[in-house]
Amino acid sequence: MEQIPILKVGRCLLVSIQIDMHDKLAMALQDDLTQKLVETRARGVLIDISALDLVDSFIGRMLSNIAAMARVLDAQTVVVGMRPQVAITLVELGLTLTGIQTALDVDRGLALINRLIDAEGEDGAGGAH
């Protein structure tokens, strides 16, 4: 069965979407990530979409859902590598990607996640206030 691999790197889960996902696969990724967050107690999720040549409302909603679920599980989500033409299209489509932080590339995304985690405190006390 098709599956998008999820890697644990330090305090983070790293996902790189390399294929044109159909909706069921996007839903499966959402579920897998939530599961992995619980299992690994990761504090951050980094999603690399540099290989995606399209983000439509379904994929956009999936990204927002992942960020919302991660938030509830005390983790930060950063989406990196959005192509310029995808960003232009998203805005015209009317999607705002609520609750999602973005960075230009994986390096900057990891740095951002680490800053966000550190700002909250290592023990996850951020969820308490």
């Binding site: 909706d23 696969l25 409302s57 379904f58 489509l93």
Partner: protein, 137 residues
């Protein structure tokens, strides 16, 4: 009079079919010479309407045409289903209106991503959505 240079027809019944529609629209718009931004806009519009065809229309067909009008070239997409139809097209075209639990961006967003956008539907008679995008000169 619009001339049709090439047509392909794809079934739109499963999530995998939506991906096939996206790939075919990408190929066609690239062949006509759309810029990368314009390709992406139209492929995204196609993806939204193809999903509607499945979620609201119970599946149907997509006709993907390369068209010419007075020297201008473009791509026309026609999505047809035999589903329940749209009771209030005006309402369906409003940002944020959804009956399917989605974001309500599909129809109005796809219209913004197209140069021409037509919806023909009545309750019980299915739905036909036509999208056209011309190559910008």
């Amino acid at each position: 009079m619009v001339q049709v240079e090439r047509t392909s027809t794809l079934e739109v019944r499963t999530p995998e079919d939506v991906v096939k529609v996206r790939q075919e629209v990408r190929k066609r718009t690239a062949a006509v010479g759309f810029s990368l931004v314009d390709q992406t806009k139209f492929v995204t519009a196609a993806s939204e309407i193809a999903r509607n065809t499945i979620d609201h229309g119970g599946g149907g067909r997509a006709h993907i045409e390369t068209i010419v009008l007075t020297g201008k070239r473009g791509v026309r997409l026609v999505f047809e289903d035999q589903g329940p139809g749209i009771a209030d097209i005006k309402l369906a075209m409003q940002d944020g209106y959804s009956t399917g639990g989605g974001l309500g961006m599909g129809m109005p967003g796809s219209k913004r991503l197209s140069n021409e956008f037509y919806v023909e539907s009545s309750p019980g008679k299915g739905t036909k959505v036509t999208l056209v995008r011309w190559k910008s000169s």
